[in-house]
Amino acid sequence: MAARPWLLLAPALAVLAGLLLYPLVRVAVISVQDFSGLRAVYRGTAEFIGLANYREVLGDRRLWYTVLPNTVVVAMVCVVLTVVIGTLAAVLLESLRPGLRAATTIAVLSAWAVPAVTGTYIWIWIFDPVQGVVSHAAQWLGLVPAGGENWFTDRVTFFAIVVINVVHHGFPFVALTVLAGLLTIPDELVEAAKLDGAGAWRRFWSITVPTLRPVFAVVTILSTIWDFKVFTQVYLMPGGDGQNREVLNLGTWSYVESFGQTEYGTGSAIAVVLTATLLVITAVYLRTMFREGEL
């Protein structure tokens, strides 16, 4: 009898083990091996060298001065903006009439439906130093010298464009999830608050936010995870493929080290560091947001 739940879970667990657990374990194993060069790839095995790869990665100045700040700061900015804009969009959607709401929802969803690769190229074109619409506008307004300015070479402007891209791509999910939450708030609660003289601002903070706390927790954690491993949106940007070392993040650094340099051991160690960082951040989040296991 006790075996029945496990029996029912078995297919799902088997799929998860195959698709998630095996690669994870393999990455962990490679990260403690001297898995470098095409020969190692060809043979599929390598010597164990303990924590040497981690020493190399953690001892690299680039990790602390470039890669980690790029990853953490950009992810934090992205998460905050995604959740705020997503919530505002949700509040807007809720206040619309059904027909208009459907139309707006479709518009919002289209931003989400665009694949990351396509979306990234669109933003690259928008900010193209010569032909981009933003560049044209900035030149017309006299904000940048005639002939344009290359925003892709500067770390701050580079990541500003990345943030716009990531937030634009990520906010629809937050908007829809929060909207679903908003629609579950009982009308009586809102009416009662109105009778007590609470304004929209007060109602938002006293009713909406506490009720939706679990929803916010979920979208924040998911956004954090997504925004930490941003890869496409950086790699495809001009200079983001390793040419400009100032804009490497954990994802692109790991990729450039593993595949370009055929240093899979080092690349895997970086990937493990990324996973560990994410776990720590998620744990801290959960602890601060839920003092008594509300989730």
Binding site: L38, G148, T153, Q243, R245, G260, Q261
Partner: protein, 434 residues
């Protein structure tokens, strides 16, 4: 693994189908087909070819497939791989054990994969085929590790300067023959045509800067006592890099956008009529004219000028055809490689793709061609051809983007030429010795 099994199963099906055809008498039983070369009957050869070399490669490979089928009875499955993704794709294919039988390799990758034991050594086969003496030397050298050849030279290309003849004519300018003249010409274009980028300096294109390093008498790296050491920080190399980047930083003849341009961005912008000159490959004029027919008769080429006179050397790049060590059909694969790299198909491919063939006897014909969009490149190839350091680790240096990174740092002003070259040389030396 599964794909492998699938291909075996498909091969089995093909055999069954062939047998059925033979039994029902529908098979092509012309006498030429019944010789011993038919050993490939029912087999399928998987071939990876780089995409875009030949603007429309499908008709060409349809002919190749038909001919190969006629000669050997085997089918050829050609898959096109984009250049930019190819190196990664080869590495993952090796990791997953899903390599094809034959693949086109960029000449700078062949030593890397050959040394790792992934490619079959072709030295004996090439000797046996009797074309050894006819192969273009720089392409042979690029495919060798310790005297063992891993890639059969297929085609080659070289970069020179492509320019707008209409702009030059209008302003009464002549193609420059020294760096000083080049600067003067570009400056005049900039003054007369401020909307055109006179001479773009593409930050993400290492092949654009090499001619200046070599033209000033410098080298990328030298081998001393079996160890490679980068000489990007030598006085000559610095002088070349200084001149090239100063076109953008000091003289404003480039565009800020070019700081992150790749070679393909140069071509795209030229096609849109925004550039007066660019350093570009011998294979691009045809593609440019196809994309922008209005430029017909308005583009020309000249070899990259030397510092004082003559020609600045330019990288001779190209492709090998290589056979994978794991291929179960080595003989058939070699037959395919031979067919592609000699005779009719070799010269047709060269003509269609505007590359130079890998055989001296065929190259000679191209050099004497009167075409103004071929002859300057042929001269560059003959009199000003160079190669990057021939060592398996140079592929890693390229993957690390050491040189593009240096260029971008100088162009965006974040480093001086001295600092950027010193950093790049240190990184490259560490990589080559590491």
């Amino acid at each position: 693994m599964s794909a492998h099994r699938l291909s075996i199963r498909l091969a089995g099906l093909a055999v069954a189908a062939a047998t059925a055809l033979a039994v029902t008498g529908c098979g092509d039983d012309s006498s030429s087909n019944s010789n011993a070369a038919q050993s490939g009957s029912g087999k399928t050869l998987t071939v990876w070819i780089m995409e875009g070399t030949n603007p429309d490669a499908t008709p060409f490979f349809d002919q190749v497939k038909a001919e190969f089928k006629r000669e050997t009875g085997a089918d050829v499955n050609v898959q096109f791989v984009p250049w930019s993704a190819a190196h990664d794709k080869f590495v993952s294919a090796v990791g997953g054990g899903e390599t094809p039988d034959v693949a086109e390799f960029g000449t700078t990758w062949t030593p890397e994969f050959g040394e790792a034991g992934i490619l079959a050594e072709l030295t004996e086969r090439v000797k046996g085929s009797g074309v050894s003496d006819d192969l273009v030397d720089s392409l042979v050298a690029a495919g060798e590790v310790d005297g063992k050849l891993y890639g059969m030279p297929w085609y080659a290309g070289v970069r020179s300067v492509i320019y707008r003849t209409d702009v030059f004519e209008e302003l009464g300018l002549q193609p420059p023959t020294s760096w000083d003249e080049w600067l003067t010409v570009a400056t005049k274009i900039k003054e007369a045509k401020p909307d055109l980028v006179a001479m773009p300096v593409a930050g993400n294109n290492e092949y654009g800067v090499y001619p200046f390093i070599w033209g000033a008498g410098g080298k990328i790296a030298v081998q001393e006592g079996g160890k490679w050491r980068s000489t990007l920080d030598s006085e000559q190399a610095r002088r070349g890099i200084e001149f090239y980047t100063s076109l953008a930083t000091k003289h404003g003849l480039s565009s800020p956008a070019a700081e992150t341009w790749k070679e393909t961005d140069l071509k795209d912008n030229f096609v849109q009529g925004k550039l007066a000159m660019m350093i570009s490959g011998s294979w691009t004029p045809k593609a440019i004219l196809e994309a922008a027919p209005q430029l017909q008769g308005k583009i020309g080429a000249f070899p990259i000028p030397g510092e004082k006179s003559g020609i600045s050397p330019s990288f001779v790049g190209g492709s090998h055809l290589a056979v994978f060590e794991k291929s179960q059909q080595g003989d058939l694969a070699w037959q395919f490689v031979q067919m592609m790299t000699s005779g009719r198909f070799a010269s047709e491919w060269a003509t269609q793709s505007s590359y130079f063939p890998g055989l001296k006897s065929l190259l000679a014909k191209s050099i004497s061609a009167p075409d103004p969009l071929i002859a300057p490149f042929a001269r560059q190839m003959k009199d000003g051809g160079e190669t990057v350091p021939v060592t398996p680790v140079y592929g890693k240096v390229q993957a690390k983007k050491t040189v593009p990174s240096m260029l971008q740092a100088i162009l965006s002003g974040s480093k001086t030429v001295e600092q950027a070259t010193a950093d790049a040389a240190a990184e490259m030396t560490a990589e080559m010795q590491g």
